[in-house]
């Protein structure tokens, strides 16, 4: 019987409709973390290769390489995917270790601000170099 079932599970009708647990959200976090993890593999390899190729180069040569469309696009993709992934990963760490509600919310906000700050720094610099404004 339906009523018996509800009593046994301790879940409200609303929570059954929403299909969400104590985390108050679905599986998006998990999926976005995996998708960015997969994207990070080729992008990190490209990033390492680019940085290696810049070894021992003059400033002009470094800027020249970074303003190549393929290089700039790969760097921008790595920054976006990497920082998105990083923010989700740190959110899990915060939720694991920070238990006070206020400090947890503060830490989660700081996490978001940090990711956006670093992201804007990288994207601004890469675009400025890429569009030859330097």
């Amino acid at each position: 019987m339906a009523s018996d079932h509800v009593n046994q599970t301790m879940r409200t009708e609303m929570s059954r409709v929403k299909g969400l647990g104590a985390a108050k959200s679905g599986t998006e976090h998990f999926w976005q973390h995996r998708i960015t993890a997969i994207a990070n593999i080729p992008l990190a390899i490209a990033f390492i290769a680019i940085v290696i190729s810049l070894q021992g180069k003059s400033r002009e040569a470094v800027l020249h390489t970074l303003s190549q469309p393929l290089v700039a696009i790969l760097m921008l993709l790595f920054v976006c995917s990497g920082l998105f992934h990083m923010r989700l990963g740190m959110q899990v760490i915060i939720e694991d270790y920070v238990h006070g509600e206020a400090t947890k919310i503060a830490a989660l906000i700081a996490n978001t601000f940090f990711a956006i700050l670093v992201g804007v720094m990288c994207v601004y610099a890469l675009l400025r170099i890429g569009f030859g404004a330097i």
């Binding site: 995996r34 990070n40 290696i52 070894q55 990288c122 601004y124 610099a125």
Partner: protein, 151 residues
């Protein structure tokens, strides 16, 4: 029955339990896990390494961002950044960052294999953990060998 009828009674019972544990003879009970009594295993070490390298990469992104902004800013700031990264401390940090990235990448592949529902056998877990560490250290050395050769 009293527990079912009165929540307060239940709570008081628990409180007295906490205040006077000696009141009742207790069998020796297992303590909560303590880090120092655990034998370090490869799989456990690689689990914590994944979190530590993820956190190190987190902080390190600030360094990459600072370097890019310096490159985009002008000659003197670029040279300051190059000097900082070329210093002994800078080189050590960069070496550590390379290892953290490669280790976290291989550890991430390991996690993705598990996410696909495979790789849970005892020997596979062990091999994956060893591969993560040995692979990341070897790759880091290869990457730095190439970088130093090109310099």
């Amino acid at each position: 029955m009293r527990y079912l009828l009165s929540w307060n009674g239940y709570k008081e019972e628990m409180m007295t339990d906490i205040k006077a544990p000696a009141a009742r003879p207790m069998a020796p009970r297992p303590l909560s896990p303590h880090l120092e009594i655990y034998r370090v295993t490869w799989t456990m070490a690689m689990s914590i390494f994944h979190r530590i390298t993820g956190s190190a990469l987190y902080v390190g992104t600030l360094m990459i961002a600072a370097w890019l902004v310096a490159a985009a800013s002008g000659r003197s700031s670029f040279e300051t950044a190059q000097w900082a990264m070329g210093s002994l401390l800078g080189q050590l940090v960069l070496f550590g960052y390379t290892w953290a990235l490669l280790h976290h990448m291989l550890g991430g592949v390991r996690h993705l294999i598990w996410d696909s529902g495979t790789g849970y056998e005892r020997s596979t877990r062990m091999n994956l953990a060893r591969f993560t560490f040995i692979g990341s250290v070897s790759l880091t050395i290869v990457v730095w060998a190439i970088a130093l050769y090109l310099r």
